[in-house]
């Protein structure tokens, strides 16, 4: 193992982390402020990817694809919130899980009806193809772009939440939604806006994921599970927590996959390490989540009340 490989894997972990953050930011806000479990968040990511791939293939332009996919996912999210979900806020979590799971099935079928059963082609924009090299390290430009976009979004959310009126309301809502409503804030509108913001970010994640992942029905499910791990580890409702936890999960997952089999084969018999290493590596982030739940049930970076 070389220093170069280690640094490349660190970048890979960072890149996975920021992609998870784009999804986790919206999910944690909806969960934290509206106390609403939204399993359909992965479907909005999928719809973003489909919008981007379809528009990208039709126009050949990644920029136009982005301009359609992100607002498209946002509008779709707000529509779903108004039509299907706003009546469920007062219900218990089981009802919410059932309803949003139904939406997952609905959207998976919808993309099959519209775009067919086969995975969709999504091109890498030519100006983001290729690799960069720095200090003997090679890294795909597209992944650098994902990291950049993710960090910019993190900065934007930091500004939005800490320095704007909407952000103040979001923070207030996360602490005590009923009180914010009692003070005359239109909590219904605020909820729709937050949901739309989350959906837009999910759509952005879908847009960025298209050129590296297979754009197909049910593509949102696997990443949603990792996203749920992120928001539980980071502390539900906390954007800062989602950001830091996403980076931790991304790096732990990537490093675990690479180095656990190597370390284990150094410590024990190769055949055992070969069988147990990859299995243990794929469990690592769940073990981490279990440890966090055992020792800090509120998450590592919970919302500070009071």
């Amino acid at each position: 193992m070389t220093v170069g490989l280690f640094l490349t894997q660190l970048l890979n972990g960072l890149q996975l982390g920021v992609l998870l953050f784009l999804l986790a930011a919206g999910l944690t806000l909806v969960f934290g402020i509206m106390n609403f479990v939204n399993l359909a968040h992965g479907s909005l990511y999928m719809m973003g990817a489909y919008f981007a791939a379809a528009v990208g293939n039709a126009t050949g332009s990644f920029v136009i694809a982005a301009l359609v996919a992100v607002p498209g996912a946002m509008l779709l999210g707000m529509l779903v919130e108004r039509v299907a979900l706003s009546g469920l806020y007062a219900r218990d979590h089981l009802d919410q899980v059932l309803a949003t799971f139904g939406l997952v099935l609905f959207f998976n079928e919808l993309v099959r009806i519209i775009w067919g059963v086969s995975p969709l082609y999504a091109q890498t924009p030519s100006w983001l193809a290729g690799i960069v090299s720095f200090g003997g390290l090679f890294y795909p430009i597209y992944r650098v772009a994902i990291i950049t976009v993710g960090l910019l979004v993190a900065l934007f959310l930091y500004w939005l939440i800490n320095y704007t009126r909407v952000g103040m309301l979001i923070r207030a809502g996360a602490t005590n939604a009923a009180m914010v409503g009692a003070l005359g804030v239109n909590i219904r509108l605020l909820n729709t806006l937050i949901f739309g913001l989350g959906a837009g970010l999910a759509g952005l994640a879908g847009l960025m994921a298209g050129p590296i992942f297979s754009v197909q029905a049910a593509m949102g499910e696997a990443i949603l599970i990792q996203t749920l791990v992120v928001i539980v580890v980071g502390g539900i409702g906390s954007i800062r927590g989602a950001f830091l936890a996403a980076l931790i999960i991304g790096v732990v997952d990537t490093m675990g996959r690479v180095f656990l089999p190597i370390w284990m084969s150094a410590a024990m018999s190769p055949s055992f390490a070969q069988a147990a290493g990859p299995a243990l590596a794929s469990m690592l982030i769940y073990l981490l989540m279990a440890a966090v739940l055992a020792f800090k049930p509120e998450g590592l970076f919970p919302v500070r009340h009071g």
């Binding site: 995975p119 091109q123 890498t124 795909p140 430009i141 297979s214 197909q216 990859p278």
Partner: protein, 391 residues
Amino acid sequence: MNSRLRLALTAAAVTGALAAPGFAQAEIKIGFMGVLSGPQGPLGQDQYDAFMLVVEQNGGKLGGVPVTVLREDSQLKPEVAVQVVDKMIEKEKVQIITGITFSNIMMAIHKKVTDQQVFLIGSNAGPSPIAGAKCSPYFFSTSWEGGQQPEVVGRYATDKGYQKVMTIAPNYQAGKDFVAGFRRNYTTPTTGELWPALGTQDYSAEIAQIAAGQPEAVFAFLPGGMGINFIKQWNQSGLKGKIALLTASTADGIGLPAMGDAAIGVIAGSFWGPDFPNAVNQKFVKDFEAKHKRIPSQYAAQSYDAALLLDSAIRKVGGKVEDKAAFMAALKAADFKSLRGNFKYNTNHFVIQDFHIFEAVKDAQGRMTLKTVATPLKDYKDAFYTQCPMK
């Protein structure tokens, strides 16, 4: 006693009448079961579309006899598949079942179907147990035994003289089987084995390890969406062109359109490609494209051959598929022109056939397809037929 005897005689007479030529032409029911929903749905859809292409071109007949095809989705769930075949056999009284997309489904229904002396024409899944010790005279494959596609890739790697090869496959049974198949014909020790979890989306960690390992070639078995993810990311990594990417069941006709340019130059091992020049294949590819607006995959080809096989065998027995021994012999004879060229049944009812190496290229219309580049294995038999007691 007398009345019972009369009843038995009447029954015999009726059965005899049904078997008489006048009635035998009535209709043959064929059950088609494949994975038709979910992420793997395109595989079963290609199988079904190609099978129906033959039926429709023959005016709803196979071997000159009208057929009804019952289309059922196994949902990739063994318990659902078992219910489906129960219904097909007990309620619908089908005498032939075809399709079967995945090995776990095949393993769940193979014994059940063949024990009831219903003919099972497997047009994709060919797990090694049913090629070996658990073989059945009522089963006929029109595809290949599971290990054969990686085996031809292994032979290709040996022929190329690669000394440093790494492997990557999902950490589950089929992944282990494919790597074992590759190593059956590539005996040089591999310089690294990567086992990402089944369903992994991001392969950046694995690709970085390959970059660090600097092999001459990588053998990859990443079926379905995993392969699309991997090949897109491989293309962005800058390793493409420097390290040969050898695949089995990864860059197939289903995934190639979604991979696009990223797949150009990828090597794949299989038994058939759309560019085969023989007349049967040219007609198949042309007709399939005209009807479905896409290049057929190997899953379509396997199922097209299943329909041609049934057509030849039903014709041979004059529609009397209830004469099990005669129909079995007619199937075994495989007296038809396959789109793959050589097609002959081995003792275990798997096909003795050539295996080829393909390269992913763009066709004249700019679509991704597979081009034949080598044929390392001629008249190739699977590695398990000697364990099958059938002669």
